[in-house]
Amino acid sequence: MTQTAKPSVRHPGLKTNKLGLTQRDYEGTQSTLCAGCGHDSITAAIVQAFFELNIAPHRVAKLSGIGCSSKTPTYFLSEAHGFNSLHGRMPSIATGANAANGKLAYIGVSGDGDSLSIGLGQFCHAMRRNVNMLYMLENNGVYGLTKGQFSASADVGTKAKRGEENQMPPIDPASMALTLGASFVARSFSGDRKQLVPLIKAGLTHRGFALVDIISPCVTFNDHEGSTKSYAHTREHGHEVVETDFVPLLHEIQVEQDHGASTAVTMHDGSVVRFRSVDEHYDPTDRDAAYAHLKKLQAQGEVATGLLFIEPMSRDLHELENTVDEPLVEVPFEKLCPGSGVLAELQSHWR
């Protein structure tokens, strides 16, 4: 249970965090994704966020489904236990894992196919149960790994590489999450590390289900003109509604005070998420208003980004289920097995 030194050689010049680890220590194996794939940028943001949050890698459980996006947990935190599960089924694995051991940090990585088609039910129900995890939906509008079919997040009229137009209306994970009562809903862009890193940190710190929907262009199958999930389109139509800053509990340095209309939300663990609304009056703690604003932007062809909604004191799975504070996996057998006396007593009634 103790954090130990990494066997690998340290570059003395590399910056270390509170645990004495370098950012390198938060990396994984070499990516096998296409050069330029949005997912790789997200991986880099994840590495940075975990490093900066001083989380011991082996106290992290990283999970995914199946897809290019779902491959990425191999590419970060090689000292975390990983689970590359089945297509669309990561939420249930994460739920059971979290039920058994709520004291690890959970990060799930999924794709739009994985979460919105085959996995839609599990995705929604994990949100409903408010499983304490960061859920990264790497959203590229296509099925990358099976070579570019439209996913359920593809917009109407989006053109495939070979020219067909998508006709089916899209499922927007962010507005769906708001509707379903999710306690943390954010959207970002793989190309915007500055925005993404604090969102990941806030999501990891949030006690409950934290959805980060990230537009993550697929350079091979969906980065052309006519796609609404391309780099160009996202850069042009992404619209930050709120700037977010994450201030960890033990942050020694005073955060800059020059925020404009900045508001702050205190998280379960005492860390602070600080907002500066870009869109006037945007209030990321008002679910219905957030929804309405999202929809308004959407009608204008704009994609709202930032921490769209947060309910920092929501009750997570363990609170809903009233489980003990200790992880269930650590409860000794003696506390679990009632023993022979109880058995005899019980059976005295079964006559």
Binding site: A99, A100, L328, F333
Partner: protein, 607 residues
Amino acid sequence: MDQNSRDRTNDFVVKIATVNGTGSASANGMLMQAMFRMGVPVSGKNVFPSNIQGLPTWYEIRVNKHGHLARSPNVDLMVAMNPKTYEQDIAEVRPGDAVLFDSSWPLEEELFRADVLFLGIPLSHMCVENFEGARARILMKNIAYVGAVAALLSIDLEVLEEMLEEKFSAKQHLMDSNNVAIRLGYDYAKEHFDGLLRVRIEAMDANRDSVLMTGNMAAALGCVYAGATVGAWYPITPATSLMDAFRGFCADLRKDPETGKNLYCIIQAEDELAAIGMVLGAGWMGARAFTPTSGAGLSLMNEFLGLAYYAEIPAVIFDVQRAGPSTGMPTRTQQGDFFTVAFASHGDTKHVLLFPGDPTECFYFAVKAFDLAERFQTPVFVVSDLDIGMNDWVCEKLEWDDAFVPDRGKVLSAEDLQEMDHFYRYLDVDGDGIPARSLPGVDPKGAYFTRGSGHDRFGRYTEDGDLYQDVVDRIARKIEGAAEALPPPEVRLANDATVGLVTVGSCRGAVLEAIELLAEDGMALDFLRITGFPFSSAVEEFLLSHDLNIVVEQNRDGQLKRLLMLETAVPKKKLASVLDYRGSPLGADVVVQGVRNQLGLVAVEAG
């Protein structure tokens, strides 16, 4: 033997026909329980429809001093409380037997039979006179017929009254009305029909070491004792009551004494795909986790079961079988899932199965299942059925050894890991096909990647055929190795028998009874009950040592026989089948007839 010349004291069947949703189930249970308390071997089988209220339902109580408690079709007393089924219920009664009915309304002329004793009691009228309110009248009518049956069969009224006292001690008015109702039926029957029946009950002392349990209760309790902490499920008949019971036990036995918080987590999943996923997630973390399900749920778990097999994740699945295929008859029993569980999921797979034969074994096999799942790092199925799972069985009292230590298998602690040069998740270091496993969060050195895609013995992703083969071959070896770790089969040998009767699960009682009946006719048969899969060498030896093995099971396709064909060295011609898959618990009559047919014998009573 002639039915009429037998002494039928403590040897008879009562069948009660009612309407579901009217409270008759608990009344019937009371009747059965009273007989149990009189120390007489008894069994009760509930035949209920797949709906909530208003349809015909039956309850069959068999009393047998010799302890033969399989279902028997020979009804001695029909308690016909449902006019909608009068016709079929009365037709079922054999000449000389009796029908108890509610004579508040006259029985239609054409239903009467001259060769049957009709015992009419104006139950409804009596209840209308004695009780207020429609619901109470319906409920008390049930209690009244219990009283009447008690009188007819000489059930000790005190026993019944004592049971009412236990049940309603806190609710005096309920106790009063129940007592009145019991008496109504009892007194009427005593007065009008005393001594009319050829069957009666007499106190014995056969149940001293027995309890009344359903298999699902016992299995749930087994999960508690095994230290299971995570249960995930989706409601489905006949598995639902297993999780209900687990929840009940946990609420009583698994609260943290200081905080009152739960030392368990039960999740009602959104479906069975999620339920098994949660079990795997918890198992991966190191918790003992399980899910109860039945046919349709199993089918939905298929993909995950293959992942668990290949990624080597412990899991316990209770398959409480019901009649398939598809939705089939959800409230009827069958043993039709053997192939599904043995080879669940696409690709090459083989799973470890346990087959309890009664509720007692459900308890012990549940505990065993968790040990096996962790030891072999694979899903283990406890395969029971609706008959075992939902009916009340009189069975051996459970024992617990407080020295029990769960077998966690090769789980590495932080210290273990620290001592190793390298940890490789899928490396078999000692030749038993079982690699060591680490748990998340324990130590950085234990980190590895769990996946259902191709991997080598070091846990690395691979698409190399040889490295891939290395792992799947080892897994095959590992599963074969489980055979001798499973509970041994039950074997009972006659003298010099050349034919064996082979069976499984809830068929046990009927087959043992059939063996006795056939022995009375001079036919010696050996008995083998399969308790696990892969089959142990004892199974193969038994089969090889007999000229013929007749496999008795409750499915259409002879699935157990086919598993034996596949997985033992026994020649196919040494295997034959007796099958009954109509959804009722098996009766000895079916087995006797089936064996006779197989052996080319004309039935003695035929023609």
